[in-house]
């Protein structure tokens, strides 16, 4: 579960990125986070992944209190939150298989466990035939599917997708969104940050709209309102 209670985040230069955000995303829920550039969406993601600490207010993510989390606990928080980025952030020197396997290595999984799980996840995202390729040999849509596989492999309770379709054409975007929907159907909480109005309206899910550091709309009507 993700819970923000009256969260304020100010930067040292005097900018107030968030000015009292409160919201709650339940386990297994699918929500869109929308808003224009500079509205505070990235700050929310950074707060959820422990990259930032709130200036005031409370942030709870999957049992961790972010306002008082210790540095050494952050890796363990991040294992409960898979992140998918717009620019994929894949390791180009590793193959498709290795890009996914090393995430399991990072949490101390054994070789047998990795051999069993990675092919299953690659099949889930439709990349089972490309496991020996390198990211540069994949199309944009395939790279994003690989990024989703990587976010998914450690079975996190939450996935945050930051503009996951920003670099893709409409068909590939729909494909990726459908994949995220399927993953959500398996029980994973999904928070998709986007500014693509058509996609948001097409999927009819909860929409949290943020503007100038405040939640300006939070509804289940699937409409993109700012």
């Amino acid at each position: 579960m993700i819970e923000f209670t009256n969260v304020v985040k100010s930067y040292s230069v005097g900018t107030h990125a968030l000015r009292g955000v409160s919201m709650q995303i339940e386990d297994g829920e699918f929500a869109f986070l929308v808003g224009p550039s500079g509205s505070g969406k990235s700050t929310i993601i950074k707060l959820i992944t422990g990259e930032l600490k709130p200036t005031s207010g409370m942030v709870h993510v999957n049992g961790y209190s972010l306002e008082r989390i210790r540095k050494r606990e952050i890796p363990y928080l991040r294992r409960t939150v898979g992140v998918v980025f717009q620019d994929f952030r894949l390791i180009e020197s590793k193959t498709v298989y290795e890009n996914v396997a090393f995430v399991m290595r990072a949490i101390g999984a054994g070789t047998k466990e990795i051999r069993d799980r990675v092919p299953y996840i690659l099949e889930l995202v439709g990349l089972e035939t490309k496991s020996r390729r390198h990211p540069t040999e994949l199309s944009g849509g395939e790279q994003q599917r690989l990024a989703i596989a990587r976010a998914l492999v450690n079975n996190p309770s939450t996935i945050i997708a930051d503009e996951p379709t920003g670099n893709l054409d409409p068909d590939r975007s729909l494909e990726i969104m459908s994949l995220l929907q399927e993953i959500n159907n398996l029980g994973t909480t999904m928070l998709v940050v986007t500014h693509e109005k058509d996609l948001v309206e097409r999927f009819s899910k909860r929409v949290i709209a943020i503007n100038e550091g405040l939640v300006v709309h939070d509804g289940m009507d699937g409409y993109y309102r700012i």
Partner: protein
């Protein structure tokens, strides 16, 4: 970090060397260049110290024996002189040999022609281990029964001692400065290599890898590259040293510079190069990666 990851992380470290071949090559080259400079200068200073030490040992003390003693009694003093601490060597010169030396030295002027040897004393020519202690040693020699007088060049000994002290201090200061400069250069090269891989580190952080999981392959990589650089630098140093010393030995006018054979310095050199290589590799990668871990 779980133990079943150790093998994997070691392999990743070795793999990283080949994957980032150019940066690995640059790091090894910089390490070799820096260690060669430090090594060459150290061996040069070591030799210079030995040369000055040898020159110092040529500063002799002449110990005159009481003329009332018989030849046998005079010679027996040598045993007591040899027992004195700091006496390196002690050679008996009879009054007849002393006269022969004088005659030979002043042959042109004929100063000693016709002089009777009985005017001279038997003597010992003594060299010391450490000329810093010349005054104490001459005092000990003076207390030996049968010693009539001593002739010692205290000022020359002091000059040599001062020269040795300055040389030692200068070598320590210069070597330390060179080492620090080398460490900075090598550490910057490692930092460049890390900068090249900052995205990879950021991804690892984002998926929940612990700091030790991220660090270990880089430390393994730094260790291997440091050892490789140290090994290459050592071999090059050996080749250069042998080539240079044999060239100098072949030049008649430079025969004064008798270089210490490299084989005599092999183990201290191996230890120094290996320690420097390991230190530079491990500490360099450990500290450089810190900057990129703050995600």
């Amino acid at each position: 970090m779980k133990i079943n990851n150790l093998g994997y992380l070691m392999k990743e470290g070795i793999r990283g060397i080949f994957l980032h071949g150019f940066m690995s090559f640059a790091a090894v080259c910089v390490t070799v260049a820096c260690l060669l400079i430090v090594g060459t200068f150290s061996s040069l200073m070591y030799n210079l110290n030995i040369i000055v030490e040898d020159l110092n040992k040529t500063n002799e003390i002449v110990v005159y024996v009481d003329e009332t003693l018989s030849d046998a009694e005079a010679r027996s003093i040598g045993t007591q002189l040899n027992r004195i601490e700091n006496v390196h060597n002690c050679v008996f010169v009879s009054r007849e040999e002393a006269l022969e030396n004088f005659v030979a030295d002043y042959a042109e002027r004929g100063t000693f022609n016709g002089v009777d040897a009985s005017y001279l004393r038997h003597r010992f020519v003594v060299t010391l281990e450490d000329n810093h202690l010349m005054e104490d040693t001459t005092a000990a020699i003076r207390s030996v029964s049968g010693v009539a007088d001593i002739s010692a060049a205290y000022e020359l000994a002091e000059g040599f001692s001062a020269l040795q002290d300055i040389l030692r201090l200068a070598s320590i200061v210069i070597i330390v400065v060179l080492l620090v400069v080398s460490l900075l250069i090598i550490s910057n090269t490692v930092k460049l290599a890390m900068y090249d891989r900052r995205d990879e580190i950021a991804v690892m952080k984002m998926v929940g890898a612990t700091n030790s999981f991220i660090r270990l392959p880089f430390v393994v990589e730094g260790f291997v590259l440091g050892m490789l650089g140290a090994g290459l630098a050592f071999l090059l140093e050996w080749l250069m040293y042998d080539a240079l010393s044999s060239r100098i030995a072949a030049i008649d006018t430079l025969k004064l510079f008798n270089f210490v054979p490299f084989r005599e310095m092999v183990w201290p050199m191996v230890a120094t190069f290996a320690a420097a290589g390991i230190f530079v590799g491990i500490v360099g990668s450990w500290t450089s990666i810190r900057k990129f871990m703050d995600v």
